[in-house]
């Protein structure tokens, strides 16, 4: 008891002390909502919380409710348009519960939404966990976001079993990727395949054919030759689409990379393991789970990226990426980038951050191949239930409802793992994008959503954010070296590979 009391006290006190010393001012943007009230309805009478069996119970209009806290912010879900949908989901669920209570204690479940800005969400959740005040549901959150909380998530298999929820329709390989040490500790929710987004207007201007949208299709180069859609083809094409202020492209003599006004390619929010996975399945951890390695395909990927910045000039360096020309860190939406390798969720942002709405027409193409194999990394989102949840079964009930809402996954830009995905795209994603991009949808035009659906099959077996020993520290250390690729000219790439392997081995060896 004393130990527990000390723990709580220490957690709160340490957080306060260190927050003060570090001056972070980690302000959370919270949007709690019972979601039960409508504007015209009288406000619900909520009495102070009590606890029963550890869980939180509140009385709303004289009826006791089990409170299930839903924490949003570790991944997607904090944009104003997303918050609107989340609040509606909560409101609808609570209304349903008021009509037909399904809480395990015979009471309705009251879903309560807690939205925290992504930049502070990790810190705030850790603080809540340390103070024994953890939320019940956390998500949507990706593999990396969850990995920062190893040991915190509950196994959802028994909860699903009790609820009669069947995972047999889900792809077993995906379930495996979503599991930690063989335990399914997250509700599989949405996938975000990666592909090439391309700006049609820039291709039209350069009189170049669009990239292929079907696996196996060739690309026709300006000289008429038909070539395989490989990363080398992308390099050649991207150089043709990289232009300086005098109108010369990167293949022409006299091209001035210091005055570049257009780039052929962008690897948005570049990340070393994702770049590696674009070229082939692999990881920094050898099969023994403790030895650091740098797969050959990944070396080729890093070299391709590095040369793309500093030798071939079709990728912006970090300074150029953060310039106003490239929308201060959001190059594809700037209208000055012809192609970008990105996940499905990026469809939200093609124009959203660009005040001038510079992109009028865009589409998606398949991922290029390397050594004859396509590897298309895929982001995976889950909803997790914390081990500390005192009403885990009720949380699962709420979670199953949340996961079934198509409008919610659409606002996150994800595709459900099961069901007719193409119909889903047309029903939700197209409906969302149509007002933003009237030029695309004019005269019956569409974005080719068969591309991401096809790309799902090419997701590498090892996830690009897969677990590593000493995860956060390892990720920090290779990322420090990875970022130098965008800032430093003249690096010896062999030394880079050695440095990464050495740093990772040190971290792996120090893993608890």
């Amino acid at each position: 008891m004393v130990r527990r009391g000390f723990t709580r006290f220490a957690a709160l006190a340490s957080v306060a002390a260190l927050a003060a010393s570090a001056c972070t001012g980690a302000a959370a943007t919270t949007a709690p909502s019972t979601g039960a009230a409508t504007p015209s309805a009288p406000p619900p009478q909520v009495t102070p919380a009590t606890t029963a069996g550890g869980g939180q119970i509140v009385s709303v209009n004289g009826v006791n409710h089990v409170v299930v806290q839903w924490y949003v912010g570790l991944g997607s879900g904090t944009n104003p348009s997303q918050i609107t949908v989340e609040q509606k989901v909560v409101s609808d669920f609570n209304a349903l519960q008021d009509k037909t209570p399904t809480g395990t204690k015979g009471m309705p479940i009251l879903l309560s939404l807690n939205i925290v800005q992504n930049t502070t969400a990790t810190d705030i959740l850790k603080t809540q966990l340390a103070a024994n005040n953890a939320p019940d549901i956390v998500g949507p959150v990706g593999v990396k976001g969850r990995a920062a909380f190893q040991g915190v998530w509950a196994d959802i298999t028994p909860l699903a079993k009790t609820a009669g929820f069947d995972f047999s329709a889900y792809d077993p390989n995906l379930l495996k990727q979503l599991s930690t040490n063989g335990v399914l500790d997250g509700f599989p929710y949405a996938v975000y395949p990666s592909m090439i987004f391309f700006n049609k207007d820039l291709f039209d201007e350069a009189k170049l054919p669009y990239p292929p949208q079907k696996v196996g299709d060739k690309y026709t180069m300006p000289d008429g030759t038909k070539v395989d859609w490989t990363w080398d083809t992308v390099r050649k094409l991207a150089m043709l689409l990289s232009v300086d202020n005098k109108g010369k492209d990167a293949t022409q003599a006299g091209f001035d990379p210091t005055n570049q006004v257009q780039f052929g390619f962008d690897f948005m929010w570049s990340e070393g393991r994702r770049m590696g996975s674009d070229f082939g399945n692999g990881g920094f951890v050898a099969a023994d789970g403790k030895t650091a390695q740098f797969p050959d395909a990944w070396k080729a990927a890093w070299t391709w990226y590095y040369n793309g910045i500093w030798t071939d000039h079709f990728i912006a360096n970090t300074t150029q990426e953060n310039s106003t020309l490239l929308a201060t860190g959001n190059p594809p939406s700037s209208g000055h980038v012809a192609m970008a390798q990105m996940f499905q969720w990026y469809d939200c942002c093609m124009a959203a951050t660009s005040p001038s709405k510079t992109i009028k027409k865009w589409d998606v193409a398949i991922q290029p191949s390397y050594n004859g194999t396509i590897s298309a990394p895929m982001d995976l989102d889950v909803f997790s239930i914390t081990k500390a949840s005192k009403d885990a079964q009720d949380a699962f009930t709420a979670l199953a409802y949340i996961a079934g809402r198509g409008d919610l996954s659409a606002t996150y830009g994800g595709i459900p793992l099961v069901g007719d995905q193409l119909t889903y795209y047309h029903k939700y994603i197209d409906a969302m994008l149509k007002p933003e991009f009237p030029e695309i949808y004019a005269n019956g035009g569409l974005i080719n959503w068969q591309v991401p659906i096809d790309m799902e099959k090419y997701a590498p077996a090892i996830h690009h954010e897969a677990a590593m020993p000493n995860y956060v520290k390892s990720m920090d250390d290779y990322s420090k070296i990875w970022t130098t690729l965008g800032t430093t000219k003249g690096l010896d790439m062999n030394k880079v590979f050695t440095d990464v392997t050495t740093a990772l081995q040190t971290d792996f060896s120090a893993a608890p």
Partner: protein, 321 residues
Amino acid sequence: MVIVEDNESVHAPPPRRMSLARRETLMGLAFLSPWLIGLVVFTALPIVASLVLSFTDFNLLHPADFRFIGLDNYTRMWNELMNDGAAGKSLGVTARFALMSVPVTIVLALGVALLVNRKLLAGKPVFRTLFFMPVLIPLVASTIVWQGFLNGSTGWLGQILRSFGLPSPDWFNDPSWALPGLVLLGTWGIGNMTLIFLAGLQGVPTELYEAVKIDGGGPWARFRHVTLPMISPVLFYNILISIIGVSQYFTQAYVLDPGSNGNPGGSTYFYNLNLYKEGWSYNQMGFASALAWLMMLIVVVAALVLFRTSARWVFYAGGDR
């Protein structure tokens, strides 16, 4: 006739009345209590708790599993300091920044204060307001603005320098220029210090300047022999506050690299970034607490050195310290 004695009224002691001083003390404490409670709960207790935590392996994700580990955190810190580990490197970055930033901001703030204190300057209130205004802008916003301003490709400063045929550093992407870039960014916030200097300058008696003039002293003599000694207590205060400010430096570096790795190349990996990283990213709250205590110790030593040396260079007109 029976006489009934009213014992209660005769023998009961008179009601006790508090003295005025006591009542005023209690009233004062009552009014102060919100602040006092805040001080105890949000400052004093966390300070004590962080000291206790520094002797534990307290992990944010697994708070119930903590153990007292004696001086292990301090031993680790010592090893990191001696062997150029993360603590040593980050302390080095902070020290280098302090050596650049403190003199630059002090000299600049004093210079601006001297300028806006000039009798001949027209529109003084306007200039004073202009120099103070940046203080009102949140640090995060100003850092983002400066990121754009110093961008090596499209930043205004680079464009201005290039228009004169001068090379433009790639400030926040070049390890050699990142710290100078942050020093430059820091000059944006000299308004407070300028204001304090200005108050000090306005308190210097004019007859002293007249005396120097009569003795044939020029502007430099007036500054060296009158202004500087007379505002030395203000200078002392500003130096002390600057050092404390550097010891808390965090936000700007965090905004520049939200991954908190001190990019580019670890050149902006400040001590508090490392402390934050250990506490929140690696969940080593015990070790982070030990780091916090080392920084406090360093600041205390720096303050003591300043106070001890102040007798030689700080002049108090009334003779009081």
